[in-house]
């Protein structure tokens, strides 16, 4: 009996440790992100957009725009980190999925699912910020350009993941099939991005957002933003995982009590 108690105590200690780390990560992340955004809006230079590539020099709205000073480009400092992190989360979910298929443990499944959950939050954040950017820049709510399209598909993939989970009752199958689909989704997302980028749309121009070749003034907040977002994601992931683990523990304790009752 004391062994079980000791085990519980150790578990609680580990949990405590992780919670502290998670909260620190979260706060640090938020600080960095805020720093990034504030710098972006008040200090970073306003950027000129790249020339519209294809088709050349034609833009929706009829006006020919080749270069434009974009204030709205500042959203870039928020949008791109969020986008990158959401992608990282999907990859992480797929990595846990592969681990699950190798070891068939409930822990890997839980982590995979949590990555997807946090990923969903970030993807929606990407979509919204990306959409705001588009609205501000081009005056429309939606454009089928590579990034937005890819993130829309990614959103659908993550939603599909959760619909799949809901559709299967048996836990073992649920975990296994979710893992398989997570892998497929993680493969599909970059393909989606590649294909929409490499195939020019005859109607909608491929827009380069000019996020290469940044001056140090821009690089610093940007990098801070990425790290900040990663920390925020990590913090949320850990806290959510903690919540889920405790919930599962409660459930298994209930099941054990029921069994003892019956005997």
């Amino acid at each position: 009996m004391s062994n079980a108690l000791e085990h519980s105590y150790n578990l609680a200690q580990t949990r405590q440790k992780w919670t502290t780390i998670a909260v620190i990560a979260l706060i640090l992340g938020l600080v960095l992100t805020t720093f990034d955004v504030i710098w972006a809006f008040f200090r970073a230079p306003i950027v000129a957009s790249d020339v519209v590539i294809d088709p050349p020099a034609v833009l929706e709205g009829g006006t020919v725009i080749t270069n434009q000073l974009l204030f709205s480009q500042k959203i870039f400092y928020f949008h791109v980190p969020v986008a990158i992190v959401s992608f990282v989360l999907i990859i992480a979910a797929a990595v846990y999925a592969v681990l699950h298929l190798m070891h068939h443990s409930a822990e890997t499944d839980l982590r995979s699912k949590t990555c997807m959950e946090v990923g969903l939050v970030f993807i929606i954040g990407t979509m919204i910020s990306g959409d705001l950017w588009t609205r501000h820049d081009w005056g429309v709510w939606w454009v089928w350009e590579p990034r937005l399209t890819t993130y829309f598909i990614l959103t659908l993939l993550v939603i599909a993941y959760f619909v799949l989970r809901t559709a299967i009752d048996e836990p073992e199958r649920k975990a296994r099939f979710s893992a398989v689909f997570a892998i497929i989704a993680a493969i599909d997302a970059p393909i989606s991005f590649g294909i929409t980028r490499l195939i020019p749309s005859s109607i909608h121009p491929v827009l380069e957002r000019g996020d290469s070749g940044m001056s140090p003034d821009m690089l610093i907040p940007f990098v801070c933003g990425i790290f900040g977002m990663l920390l925020v994601a990590f913090g949320i992931f850990r806290l959510r995982l903690l919540l889920q683990e405790q919930k599962l523990e409660v459930e298994s304790l209930k099941a054990r009590l029921e069994e003892l009752d019956r005997q």
């Binding site: 619909v163 799949l164 689909f181 989606s192 929409t196």
Partner: protein, 238 residues
């Protein structure tokens, strides 16, 4: 006596599985008829949808898209039924009891689905042309569209078979297949529509886009088929 050392030939097993699917389909004609009828229904809906377009409407600009939408919807219907014979008497278990390798089951099923899809396309695509492209000026490169049709069908049949196995014993099976499949197949669709469009329009100097799209579609097929092959055993066992 230890377990039998003789391993049955993979090719023989593949042919047995494929032969069984084709034989059953020829006997019951379930999938072909339902897919064929469905394709005609979709064309009918297109008829209503396009009924108000002006005579100057450039059908060629949307033709590729409409055609691929038709193919995808029809394939969703067919894929849902691809395991119907197996679920009837739990014969899928009968197959799993044999030493056949799980990916081989996938390959055979995907092949039979591909054959049925192509068979329906042979009828549906010409019908589409007859119904809607009568007055369009088709580009000289139009026959090239056979290539994206083949590549696209391979991809749809492949990943579609894989995903329909996932949805076999789940709630809301048909809808679930569509929910899973559409985002996954989107890049393939995008590439195929592009290639088909270029072929139909036949504009000078755009042929490079055709080949690029075709290459990307082919790349998609290879990657997704490899992933399906590798992951299939996890989708079948319990």
């Amino acid at each position: 006596m230890t377990a039998k050392a003789k391993a049955p030939g993979g090719w023989q097993q593949y042919c047995a599985l494929l032969g069984k699917d084709i034989r059953m389909e020829l006997r019951t004609r379930e999938m072909l008829v339902s897919m064929g009828v469905y394709a005609i229904l979709v064309l009918t809906i297109y008829g209503a949808a396009l009924s108000q377009t002006a005579s100057s409407f450039d059908i060629l600009s949307v033709a590729a898209g409409l055609m691929w939408a038709l193919i995808l919807f029809t394939s969703l219907l067919g894929l849902n039924r691809s395991f119907s014979h197996e679920t009837e008497n739990s014969s899928l278990e009968g197959i799993l009891l044999t030493p056949v390798s799980r990916p081989l089951v996938f390959a055979a099923k995907a092949t039979s689905n591909l054959i049925f899809l192509l068979a329906v396309e042979v009828i549906a695509v010409p019908l589409f042309f007859i119904f809607f492209m009568g007055q369009a000026e088709l580009g000289s490169t139009t026959p090239l569209m056979i290539l994206p049709i083949i590549l696209g069908s391979i991809g749809i049949a492949g990943i579609g078979t894989f995903l329909s196995t996932l949805t076999l014993n789940t709630r809301g099976r048909d809808v679930l297949l569509a929910i899973l499949m559409v985002p996954v197949v989107f890049p393939l669709l995008y590439a195929c529509v592009s290639a088909t469009s270029v072929a139909l329009l036949g504009i000078e100097g755009q042929i490079e886009i055709f080949w690029r799209s075709l290459l990307l579609a082919g790349g998609y097929d290879v990657i997704m088929l490899a992933a399906s092959w590798g992951l299939y055993e996890f989708v079948l066992g319990s």
